[in-house]
Amino acid sequence: MTALDVRLRQAEQYFIPFIMAGDPSLEVTKRILRLLQEEGAAAIELGVPFSDPMADGPVIQTASERALENGVTLKDVLRLGEELHAEGFHTPLILFTYFNPVLHHGLEALVEDAKASGFAGLIVPDLPHEESAPLRRIGNRCAFPIIPLVTPTSKERIEQIVAEAEGFVYCVSSLGTTGMRQYFADDVEAFLDTVRAASPVPTAVGFGISTGAHVRRFRRHADAVVVGSALVGKIEECRSDLLDPNRIDHALASLTRFVRQLKSE
């Protein structure tokens, strides 16, 4: 059992925000991470920008493009984790990166470096379970969770995927990419309940969860709820203020209000 699943088993630890590292800048990312920690995030997913974010909808795609323009790489994100860790940051950080940068860094090197940089787990959204054994073996050896994704179409694969899960199981709420949506599939709750019942580790649900009402609805069917695009979109909205030393506090206050709305009971 890893620190991550112990934490997510506690009822009050259910909120997992996702943000894109380097959007609008690495310095501001740090400030936002501290804000999210203060607001009681159970864990935080930190996205590594990539040229071809296949699993992401338009909001995270454009955030990724902006971070790429800032020249942010996987190594920069690892360094960011290391710095935060050294400064006493204690909320579990989950590295969220597509597979090709991992391949280039080296699978073993990445797991070791991520762990040494204070990360608590890794999500690779374009690495299907069937292809993930080498990475999971390394994760097992280093006690570093490689967090699996399951989707409503995983069907008979669900049991096999969760049986080998570490950290938590990331349930994809509905088919398609990340991003805000009005409606979810009718049977999404049943799917979440199935995964939760089968999983030895906590479950988190994400993709499309963008309002306080969504958060309250899904909390009943998963141990944690991931909010990505809605928050990334809010950061985009506050972009110019976040980059202005005179306006940043105002922008951060507005982000705080947004997070509190998402978490309001």
Binding site: S51, M54, Q61, E65, F99, V102, L175, G176
Partner: protein, 375 residues
């Protein structure tokens, strides 16, 4: 992954079904006009003064390129699997047109994803697809070209996988796509091999094809892979030169990586981010290549080389002048290399070139390039 497993099973069942194969072959023959001709390029041969040059005329297919072979096969499969809609990615629009055509023929709904930049450059093909009843969806993410259109088509497929069939246009992507595209394109090589034996009583010394994703090349090579005496040559787009950062030569200059569900060669930076490709020919303008080509490169069975934008334009001019054939810019890359090979060979030896498509679609691009040349 479930969608791929379903597709793999559907494809495996279809290829064992004689009725399906018969229907596919009938469409190739009576709809697309196969077998396509094998043309002896006599004046070109004379001008080069080396080996005999033969052209496999995929440009004579319905819709003007080899793309229709695969589009018909996959659209039939979509129908057999009970899908009501096909989606496709397209660069210049050739695969989009072929898909829209096959969908119209078989009564399937069709959506084509196309980078905004390509939509702008290829207005006529956009209109053509719309005439055929397809909906063209401009893609505004990333580089706004083929790579991003592929990303978007994959995203869409994932979202509506139950009703939709993703009709992929090249020998790329996750299994079973590369194998399936090869299966539907190997008619090129099978026909050419038989025609070659009938005409010359022997196989060619060299077989040449252009390589973007690599579908016409893998289809052509398929019939010759086991003929060890036949040398195979794949020609990538060198754009403004492989020494510049403006090319699409993923096998020549790329490194192994993973994208679009395949482990193959990609143009990428040191951090593993995919780099934009460039070629005057939109069909070769893709930063990756089919995984079987990566294997054939590593095994040494196929020699991969490249031709620049300028060399392709020169080849267009040459083939127009000597043979009265306007090749697609993609195919012109193969012509350029084929001519070099013929030049080094003795009279009586044979170079077989895959002329994958006709150049009508490229006339405007060719005209502009020639104007730039003249200054």
């Amino acid at each position: 992954m479930m969608a791929l497993a379903e597709l793999e099973q559907g494809f495996a069942e279809a290829v064992r079904d004689e009725g399906f194969i018969m229907e596919y072959k009938n469409l190739l023959r009576h709809y697309s006009g196969r077998p396509t001709a094998l043309t002896f390029a006599s004046r070109l041969t004379e001008e080069i003064g080396g080996a005999k040059i033969y052209l496999k005329r995929e440009d004579l297919n319905h819709t003007g390129a080899h793309k229709i072979n695969n589009a018909l096969g996959q659209a039939l499969l979509a129908k057999r699997m009970g899908k009501r809609k096909v989606i496709a990615e397209t660069g210049a629009g050739q695969h989009g047109v072929a898909t829209a055509t096959a969908a119209a023929l078989l009564g399937l709904a069709c959506e084509v994803y196309m980078g905004e930049e390509d939509v702008r450059r290829q207005q006529l093909n956009v209109f053509r697809m719309e005439l055929l009843g397809a909906k063209v969806i401009p893609v505004t993410s990333g580089t706004r070209t083929l790579k991003d259109a592929t990303n978007e088509a994959l995203r869409r497929w994932v979202a509506e996988v139950d009703s939709t069939f993703y009709l992929l246009g090249s020998a790329v992507g996750p299994h079973p796509y590369p194998a399936m595209v090869k299966f539907f394109q190997r008619v090129i090589g099978d026909e050419a091999r038989q025609q070659m034996l009938e005409r010359e009583g022997k196989l060619p010394e060299d077989v040449v094809a252009c390589v973007g994703g690599g579908s016409n090349a893998i289809g052509m090579f398929a019939a010759f892979l086991d003929e060890w005496k036949v040398k195979l040559h794949g020609v990538e787009a060198a754009g403004q030169g492989i020494g510049t950062d403006r090319h699409a030569a993923s096998l020549t200059k790329g490194r192994p990586g993973v994208l679009h569900g395949m482990y193959s060669y990609f143009l990428q930076d040191e951090a593993g981010r995919i780099l934009p490709a460039h070629s005057i020919s939109a069909g070769l303008d893709y930063p990756g290549v089919g995984p079987e080509h990566a294997f054939l490169k590593n095994s040494g069975r196929v020699r991969y080389t490249s031709a620049t934008d300028a060399e392709a334009i020169e080849a267009v001019r040459l083939l127009c002048r000597t043979e009265g054939i306007l090749p697609a810019l993609e195919s012109a890359h193969a012509i350029s290399e084929g001519v070099k090979l013929a030049n080094m060979r003795r009279k009586g030896e044979i170079v077989l070139i895959c002329l994958s498509g006709r150049g009508d679609k490229d006339v405007e691009t060719i005209r502009q390039a020639m104007e730039v040349e003249r200054g």
